[in-house]
């Protein structure tokens, strides 16, 4: 292979790999952003169940976090990626004997990341729940709000403000965990960088680029979260 300069390799277009890596970055960001709302909602409900007075609800939520925080991310991913088609196929074949199921790696990654993210986020939400004094609930009920409206109008705004720094950490680890989905052939940043590395034999260069991409994403996230934090702080009642 003729020695190509680093700048050709990193250029945009047929000779360079920047466009491939950029499309991988888009997939990474899309995966993380698609997971975030699902994970937040599940995490909130798991935390809600964990601090509920009903023991059965607490037990169910505790099993959830024990399992998904205890399993390595990679094992969860493989279990879902290989196990889910089998299970779905088994169920679907009860109705339609000829069906075959393939799981899209983006969807599988999204489910697994949401499970992991939500079990970590639920711990953050739980400690935020515990930081809210009981009087806030009682005050809500006293002015005639229903349970649901107290939760939505009184508790949730305070909860989000308390939980925000912890959720930021969860988001950063979610961003890093997206790289694991490259193992099941999703064409995200690390996967595309790996392909470039294998084709051009410049492994160090391209894996450094991948590392740099994740660093830049982390820096961008902290800029964004600092902005959100400021605007949350401004709305705080004094």
């Amino acid at each position: 292979m003729p020695a190509q300069s680093i700048w050709t390799l990193l250029s945009w277009g047929p000779d360079g790999w920047s466009d491939d890596i950029a499309s991988g970055v888009l997939v990474t960001v899309a995966l993380a952003l698609a997971t975030l709302p699902i994970g937040l909602v599940i995490g909130f409900f798991v935390a809600f169940a964990k601090q509920h007075e009903e023991p059965a609800l607490r037990l169910a939520a505790n099993i959830y976090t024990t399992v998904f925080r205890g399993l390595p991310e990679l094992v969860t991913l493989f279990l879902f990626f290989f196990g889910m088609p089998l299970l779905l196929q088994y169920v679907v074949r009860l109705f339609e004997p000829e069906a075959t199921i393939d799981v899209n790696s983006f969807i599988a990654g999204m489910i697994v990341l949401a499970l992991i993210f939500s079990s970590y986020a639920s711990e953050v939400f739980l400690s935020a729940f515990r930081a809210i004094p009981k009087g806030q609930y009682e005050g809500g009920y006293a002015i005639g709000l229903s349970k649901w409206r107290t939760m939505r109008l009184v508790i949730l705004p305070q909860l989000l403000r308390i939980a925000f720094p912890g959720l930021e950490n969860c988001w950063l680890s979610l961003l890093k965990d997206t790289s694991l989905v490259s193992v099941v052939n999703l064409a995200e940043t690390l996967r595309n960088a790996g392909v470039a590395a294998r084709v051009t034999k410049h492994s160090f260069l391209f894996y450094s680029v991948a590392a740099l991409v994740f660093l830049v994403l982390a820096i961008l996230s902290s800029v964004a979260t600092a902005y959100i934090q400021r605007s949350l702080g401004r709305r705080e009642a004094r």
Partner: protein
Amino acid sequence: MSVSQAIAVDRPPPQARGWPRVRIIGYALVGLWGLFGVGIVAYLVHAWNADFFARYAPAYLQGLGTTLSLVAISMVAGAILSLPVAYGRMSKNRILSGLAYCYVYFFRGTPLLVQTYLVYYGIGSFRPELQTVGLWWFFREAFYCGVFAFSLNTAAYQAEILRGAIESVPRGQWEGAASLGLHKLQTLRKVIMPQAIIVALRPYGNELILMIKASAIVAIITVYDLMGNAKLAYAKSFDIQAYIWVAIVYLVLVEILRHGVEWIERRITIHLKR
């Protein structure tokens, strides 16, 4: 008003009896988990294959040994490496603290998988240079590369834990020790560390658990640890129980560690409870 009446008034409202909606949901969810667990057990019993077990159980055991030694070596190496990094982070020297900050930011800001690739494939691609320096034997082995990447990674996290724990001890403790004539190292060892360890124990335990979980990724760079053996077993047999068994082993391992850390924490904070 008599005392007994006052107590009767303060009593919390009685527990809701009967079947309120949350209780039904709670039982349904627990039932779902139960069903899931029974399903897995039933599957494992149904798919029980003495041949599979005889062939792969020793490999799994060996893989468990590899995983544990990888994590143990990395944790210890990371702990040693974290000392200068934590020192740098707390130093007043701008250059030193800047360097330590960059180190920590890089290793905490990028995925461990990328770091592992960077070491195994990235550094490994400089084979002629490494051979000249005489380090090729190290970077040729996937296991050593894994240990190298994991040690660097956990050093960054451990440095932050150490720094947080030391900074959580109030400054008056340093000043008090200095006024008693202890020098800095003595103060650190006899006054600061005993207080810092209590703060640091839980984060260290979490870091250990995170390392055990993260160690599964060395399977991707062809190390036959627990996960690597599961991958191999699955590739040979296409039997999903390869992953189910490995999941159970990891789960048990993590739970044992988690309860162990909690037990130690209860023991060393016994003097703080009344």
